[in-house]
């Protein structure tokens, strides 16, 4: 076990944080054309999560949690940190209807398409 923590070193500075890109899953619902983005944000309070859609981009920013880290850090693989990640949005994503849920350190974003962009099956009529 390390005697010095990587996040606090010998000073154990609680405020010392670094920003990382969180791990994400992206899935496409092929029937509706909607996207679902699932983001791992461990150690973050719901109030510290911010999702913004502007200028054709979706930005996820999550602040650091308020964990009490006083003491000697013996091992530090799960430091408190802030997260940031950006995605460019397609023009046919309905920005007004993007919804977000946060539970147990996981943020789930649903990105529906505008109605006209949804796939439509064209019926083929017989000529006779």
């Amino acid at each position: 076990m390390n005697e010095q923590g990587c996040c606090g070193s010998q000073l154990n500075d609680v405020k010392a944080t670094k920003e990382v890109a969180p791990a994400v899953d992206i899935a496409l619902d092929e029937s509706t054309g909607a996207y679902r983005i699932v983001v791992d944000l461990p150690g973050v309070n719901e109030a510290d999560v911010e999702v913004q859609a502007h200028d054709g981009e979706l930005e996820i920013v999550a602040g650091v949690g308020g964990r009490d880290n006083e003491g000697d850090v013996l091992l530090c693989e799960a430091p408190q940190r802030s997260y940031r990640r950006r995605f460019r949005l397609a023009e046919d994503i309905d920005v007004e209807k993007i919804s977000a849920q946060f539970e147990a350190g996981v943020l789930t974003l649903d990105l529906p398409r505008v109605a006209s962009a949804k796939p439509r099956k064209i019926e083929i009529r017989s000529a006779h």
Binding site: V20, A23, D25, V38, P42, V44, G71, A78, F87, A90
Partner: protein, 156 residues
């Protein structure tokens, strides 16, 4: 061009991604890719549960990053100077997975502690995707605190 492929090329308009072809890679924004290479979170690269261990005197706190794990799918075993954490996470993703960085399945971790802990005084709580285990040092073997009684009628 199929519907899906057309949709993806529209999702990210950057011409850089249009040349890549792969739908999963095309989902990444240019600045996002650069950032990922520099500072990918530890959790996505390790097959073990990432943990932090903080010591305050005779007490230890172990913080384990386990976002989105149900309480029933976490087990903590304490034995002497060792703590074993086992967690299982089931992927709830539906539809076609275009990008998969989050772990799923079983992850475990054994942490070797600097001293033996009292197994009956272990407390664990889960919140915001982090499991915190509070441990206290066990009394050393053969060590016993002796109670000093006042002698009946004595004049001490």
């Amino acid at each position: 061009m199929s519907y899906q492929r057309l949709a993806l090329s529209e999702l990210f308009n950057d011409p850089f991604f249009a040349s890549l072809g792969s739908p999963a890679r095309a989902l990444m924004h240019a600045s996002d890719r650069v950032r990922l290479k520099r500072s990918m979170p530890v959790a996505t690269r390790r097959s073990e549960i990432p943990v932090s261990v903080v010591r305050r005197g005779d007490n230890l706190a172990i913080h384990c990053e386990l976002p989105g794990v149900a309480l029933d799918d976490i087990s903590v075993t304490v034995e002497g100077e060792r703590v074993e954490i086992v967690a299982r996470r089931v992927s709830k993703q539906e539809g076609r997975l275009l990008r998969s960085e989050r772990w799923c399945g079983e992850r475990r971790r054994t942490v070797q502690l600097p001293f033996a802990v009292a197994a009956d005084a272990v407390q664990a709580h889960y919140g915001e995707g982090v499991l915190t285990i509070d441990l206290a040092a066990a009394a050393k073997q053969g060590e016993r605190k002796i109670q000093i009684n006042r002698k009946q009628g004595g004049e001490i």
